[in-house]
Amino acid sequence: MNSAVYPIAVFFAAVFTNNILLTNYLGMCSFLSVSREIKTSVGLGIAVTFVMATTTILNWLAYTFILQPFQLEYLRFIVFIIIIAAFVQLVEMIIERVSEGLYAALGIFLPLITVNCAILGVSLFMVIRDYNLITSFFYGLGSGLGWFLAIMAMAGIRQKLARAKVPPGLEGAGITLIIAGMMALAFMGFSGMINIT
């Protein structure tokens, strides 16, 4: 594919056809626990998008300039995780210091997503698929937006669900997982439109 268009293609693929949450089922725990209200899921969605976009860059740099030259690719799991953790912690501290409003809207969610597997997943996919820096950034941004989209849709459904009659055995996590499965099926409709490997 044309190298100028490729990052854009990856971006759209990450949002729709290869949605990290609905096709890889990564990042489920915060998706399930914070999707009760649209307002809070927007905050979490923005936080995830921001962290994914920035940590892909950091991890790409660490991978390319530290791990690859020394043939230490097998250390990527642990290196990626500590970079993500330190970065998220740092950003949280900065936000808390500079803006109370931003902290209330966004910062409070940051500790929740330090250990979100979707964040690590994005960095690992980027390495497996051999993306360059620009593509990685677009992939991270797209994955974050895709996650955002999925949790927004779920929060919308769950707000309606509050007034629905759910069989007692399925209340809470049960019905939420079934809905997530249906959403995944719906998103499968996009598959094949864009091919990224």
């Binding site: 307002k39 809070t40 905050g43 660490a62 530290i66 791990l67 020394f70 043939q71 230490l72 250390l75 642990i78 290196v79 500590i82 970079i83 330190a86 912690q89 740092l90 501290m93 900065i94 808390e96 210091r97 109370e100 409003g101 902290y103 209330a104 809207a105 409070i108 969610f109």
Partner: protein
């Protein structure tokens, strides 16, 4: 081989050290809020604490215990505190626990709210006396087939200051029925003057998290964490006649009140109605009879609602409300202390008000 191993160890350590250094620097610069002052209850107490930490932890470090069941993870919603000044915006993690009125009154969840600038807060006065106590189980004995008496010896702090009738919170550690430590409230049956012990009377409730733990797992020598004292259920210092009514393990706070009166050689007229189903649910009868002989104005009236043949019961028979109605002719000069199930208490409050006891002088502990 060895070299590549050393390189990998070196690289990973270098990355870790670099990031930790970054965090340490950030902690000392961005995360450093200096010391902040907290003004508690309009100057009753002035605290100076390091900023940047949750209010709950800052207060705990200063020896002020806000009741909290989850230990500061924002999942129980108990640790509410009124922040009069310096509060700022309510965080999304607090919202599920606050009602609209509480939001207007600046009530905050103290485990989520971080201390960043000078504050003034308002807490109930009695919380100044609340502390956490490390205790050890000194003895456990069966009072009836389903009620156990648990006697705790205080280790640290070694003494507790209570009023007869108050309650403490008992921490149940994680076990079969609970994934995380939970707290349950129990009235103290011990007399306040014995300030190095706490006695609890705990009735087995099928599948009750704490009661099952106490009845099946707790044994002598076990360590138990409690905090307290709490509660407005204690003997008022007046000249009114006293009516006590209890059922089952509701005996505990009443026993404490009576022992306290006995020690203080109270001259007040007092009647204690204790309701049980049959003789096997009665307990501490001899102790009550003993108090009856030494406490001048005190009468103990145990009553059975469904005595069995084998009981050979000669005392009062009937529902506790009927027994109270028979004995209390004119309650206008009385005050009442009730402890038992909500159903029993509601019924007793009705009967007592009919007998002329003013409603504002009826105190109760529902459980």
């Amino acid at each position: 081989m060895l070299i590549s191993l050393l390189i990998s160890v070196g690289i990973i350590s270098a990355v870790a050290v670099f990031l930790s250094l970054l965090m340490v620097i950030a902690d000392a610069t961005i995360g450093n809020y200096g010391n902040v002052r907290i003004n508690v209850n309009n100057g009753t107490k002035e605290l100076t604490v390091p900023g940047g930490q949750p209010l709950l932890r800052a207060l705990t470090d200063e020896g002020i215990f806000i009741p909290s069941a989850c230990g500061g993870r924002g999942s129980c919603g108990l640790c509410k505190v009124k922040v009069v000044e310096g509060g700022g915006q309510i965080l999304p993690t607090e919202l599920p626990w606050l009602s609209d009125e509480e939001k207007k009154e600046n009530i905050r969840l103290s485990c989520q709210f971080k201390v960043k600038n000078d504050l003034s807060i308002q807490i109930p006065e009695e919380l100044f006396l609340v502390k956490q106590y490390n205790t050890v189980v000194e003895s456990i004995r069966d009072l009836t087939h389903d009620i156990k008496e648990v006697r705790l010896k205080l280790l640290d702090p070694p003494e507790i200051e209570t009023k007869a009738g108050q309650f403490i919170q008992f921490q149940v550690p994680a076990y079969e029925l609970t994934d995380e430590p939970v707290y349950r409230a129990y009235s103290m049956a011990s007399v306040p003057s014995d300030n190095s012990h706490i006695e609890l009377e705990i009735r087995l409730v099928p599948n009750g998290v704490c009661t099952t733990y106490v009845h099946k797992y707790l044994k002598e020598g076990d360590k138990v964490l409690v905090n307290g004292p709490y509660g407005e259920f204690y003997l008022r210092d007046t000249d009114h006649d006293i009516i006590c009514i209890a059922g089952g393990s509701g005996m505990a706070p009443i026993k404490s009140i009576l022992l306290d009166m006995q020690e203080k050689e109270s001259k007040r007229k007092a009647t204690y109605f204790f309701g049980a189903r049959s003789a096997k649910d009665l307990f501490l009868v001899n102790e009550m009879k003993e108090i009856e002989t030494s406490l001048e104005g005190f009468t103990f009236v145990p009553a059975l609602s469904e005595p069995e043949e084998v009981d050979k019961w000669t005392g009062d028979v009937g529902l506790i409300t009927d027994i109270v109605a028979q004995h209390v002719k004119d309650g206008s000069n009385s005050e009442a202390y009730l402890c038992g199930s909500p159903g029993m208490i509601d019924a007793c409050v009705r009967v007592l008000t009919e007998c002329g006891v003013p409603e504002e002088r009826i105190y109760f502990d529902k459980f």
